[in-house]
């Protein structure tokens, strides 16, 4: 179980400090795929970096703690203090752009044996790696090539091989398929799901595509303006979204075979520099009342395992008609 206890992550800038993640409380059970969605600037990537422990100035974890629920090699529990020692031992990362994350001037096999803390016998490691990438559907020669010689899909597969070879307890994937086209995206996602089933580890996956989340995740976290808006089992979140933002987000997706009119969400999220009071979604919400503008709704459990931060969680949205785009 990974526990985030009221974490606040801030960036120090010339204008002062700004909270990109502002008080997020979460409990993520072991062995499930958690999807994180929200619009650009809502803090999802910052939250990922904080969980990964990649906290470098000007970013800082200004309050709260993260407990990972597993121990390091000496038996001490892993927390946000010592998580950086666990990179590519019990914790790994799949970035969006595989081209920018691999060293372009050395062969991929050398990048595999570059990791610290594995078997000192490089030959034996390479044998294992060859066997492993075969299982992921990559040809053995791919190991001997340079990153630019592989196609985008193969490179992303190779990144997944790198990230999962050590059987980590936690994998963080930040938009792992955004740069790929749909056919390759499906292959990569199915591969990731299969590996998760075999290893039973936890995967946090960030994506802006709600379709990807529906296909892959067991649990969903919806973020809005640095806060958690909704968190629960994916089936429940997609079948009965509680927060109006989630409803509008899911309702805006066109589906092949359905001709109902769809609407985007008008307006933009509030500036985090401003005076933030009340619900942060109130300005764009069709249900907002005086209560929403003055009092911030806490993230509460409305159904078993399904949390939402809204005063009117579960209420039906009014029909916006055809003027929605304005």
């Amino acid at each position: 179980m990974i526990e985030l206890n009221d974490i606040v992550v801030s960036y120090r800038t010339g204008r002062g400090s700004i909270n990109a993640v502002d008080g997020v409380n979460l409990q993520i059970p072991e062995g499930c795929i958690v999807g994180i969605a929200g619009e650009s600037g809502c803090g999802k990537s910052t939250l990922m970096r904080a969980i990964y422990g990649d906290i470098l100035s000007p970013m800082s974890l200004s309050s709260g703690t993260i407990e990972y629920g597993f121990n390091d090699s000496s038996g001490k529990p892993v927390t946000s203090e010592n998580v950086r020692d666990e990179w590519f031992k019990t914790l790994s990362y799949i970035p969006q752009s595989s081209m920018n994350s691999m060293n372009p001037v050395i062969r991929i096999r050398e990048q595999f044996i570059d990791f610290p803390g594995t078997d000192p016998n490089k030959k034996r490691v390479l044998e294992k790696v060859r066997e492993y990438i075969g299982k992921l559907g990559l040809p053995a020669e791919a190991l001997d090539s340079f990153p630019h010689q592989l196609s985008g899909g193969m490179r992303q597969r190779m990144m997944i091989a790198l990230a999962t070879f050590f059987q980590p307890n936690l994998i963080i994937a930040d938009e792992p398929t955004t740069a790929l086209d749909v056919v390759v995206q499906k292959e990569i996602l199915l591969l990731l799901m299969e590996l998760q089933e075999q290893m039973g580890n936890t995967i946090l996956i960030v994506s802006h595509d709600m379709g990807v989340h529906y296909q892959v995740t067991h649990k969903m976290l919806i973020m809005y303006a640095a806060k958690a808006a909704e968190y629960g089992d994916s089936d429940s979140v997609f079948a009965e979204p509680l927060h109006p933002y989630t409803k509008m987000l899911i309702g805006s997706l066109p589906t092949i075979g359905e001709d109902r009119a769809r609407h985007g969400i008008p307006g933009s999220p509030p500036s985090l520099w401003g005076d933030l009071h009340g619900c942060r979604f109130a300005e764009r919400c069709p249900l907002a009342t005086g209560l929403c503008r003055s009092q911030e709704p806490p993230l509460v459990e409305h159904k078993p395992g399904h949390f939402a931060a809204c005063h009117f969680a579960g209420a039906d949205l009014p029909d916006t008609g055809d003027a929605g785009w304005q």
């Binding site: 529906y214 296909q215 933009s268």
Partner: protein, 277 residues
């Protein structure tokens, strides 16, 4: 019926490498599309990356010269060996919208300068008429003239800026607007605002669109015709409803099966692991 778009044996070969060891890439391979209709239409072009979608758009916009073949837009030949309209006449009939609005406008200029320039230089209006034309174009994308004038790109969101680039394209009253991945840089929650805007402009202002995308769901949602491209060839072309509900080509079927929908899962999944409950 008017010929809205017709390409005849359109080919484009890019040459890479040196003069002696050139590598040829067939970006467009004998593309033949004919769209005839009485009313304005939205034509979607879908396909994987590298399938030639953008080359097709660039050819129609006269940014690339085809190796052979020709293209006709609203009964006027815009690409190929035949007679060509003058640059101004061409820009009055076809206008582009690009993928990234932050790259389309300079950071160092007011965005309304682009709108006024288009009105004066392309549409050939006087300075006073230009202001009215700009205000009218902005109102048809749901923006106020006074909210836009004098501002720089960093003062708008991606969605607003893309609406401004749609407004710019509308000023010369073109018959066809070529939109190359117009929503891929825009946040998912606001994509539908732009997509619905295209539909409204087709119905209310009589503009036709060539909508280039890799997103089949939005292509299905707004388009009248769909062309599926693969490796430079159009593998399937027809009415959007027909292509999507009864795809004939294996590649179209593969594309349709790969879309992550929120209706049906790719495979029955073991319901969440035991630790969840």
């Amino acid at each position: 019926m008017a010929v809205i778009l017709k390409t005849v044996g359109l080919n484009k070969v890019y040459r890479l490498g040196s003069f002696f060891r050139a590598k040829k890439i067939q970006a467009l391979d004998n593309v033949n599309i004919t769209v005839e209709s009485d009313r304005p239409v939205i034509i979607a072009v879908v396909g994987e990356s590298g399938s030639g979608k953008t080359t097709l758009a660039k050819t129609l916009l006269r940014l690339e010269v085809p190796t052979s073949g020709s293209a006709i837009v609203y009964d006027k030949e815009v690409a190929g060996a035949g007679s060509r309209p003058s640059r101004r006449e061409f820009l009055q009939s076809i206008q582009p919208i690009f993928q990234n609005p932050f790259e389309a406008f300079s950071r160092y200029r007011n965005v309304d300068a682009y709108l006024h320039e288009t009105a004066i230089r392309v549409a050939g209006l006087s300075a006073e008429d230009a202001r009215d034309a700009v205000a009218h174009a902005l109102s048809s994308v749901g923006l106020e003239y006074n909210d836009v004038v004098g501002k720089y790109t960093n003062q708008f969101s991606g969605g607003e800026l893309q609406r401004i680039s749609v407004a710019r394209a509308l000023i010369p009253e073109p018959s066809l607007i070529v939109a190359d991945e117009p929503v891929s840089m825009i946040d998912a929650s606001r994509r539908m605002i732009i997509i619905n805007l295209f539909r409204k402009l087709r119905d209310e202002e009589g503009r036709s669109f060539l909508y280039i995308t890799h997103d089949l769901a939005t292509a299905y949602y707004i388009s009248d015709f769909i062309a599926v491209m693969k490796k430079g060839q159009v593998v399937e072309f027809g009415k959007a409803q027909a292509v999507m509900s009864d795809p004939q080509h294996d590649y179209t079927r593969l594309l349709l099966n790969s879309i992550p929908t929120t209706r049906q899962r790719w495979r029955p999944r073991n319901v969440a692991p035991a630790t969840l409950n």
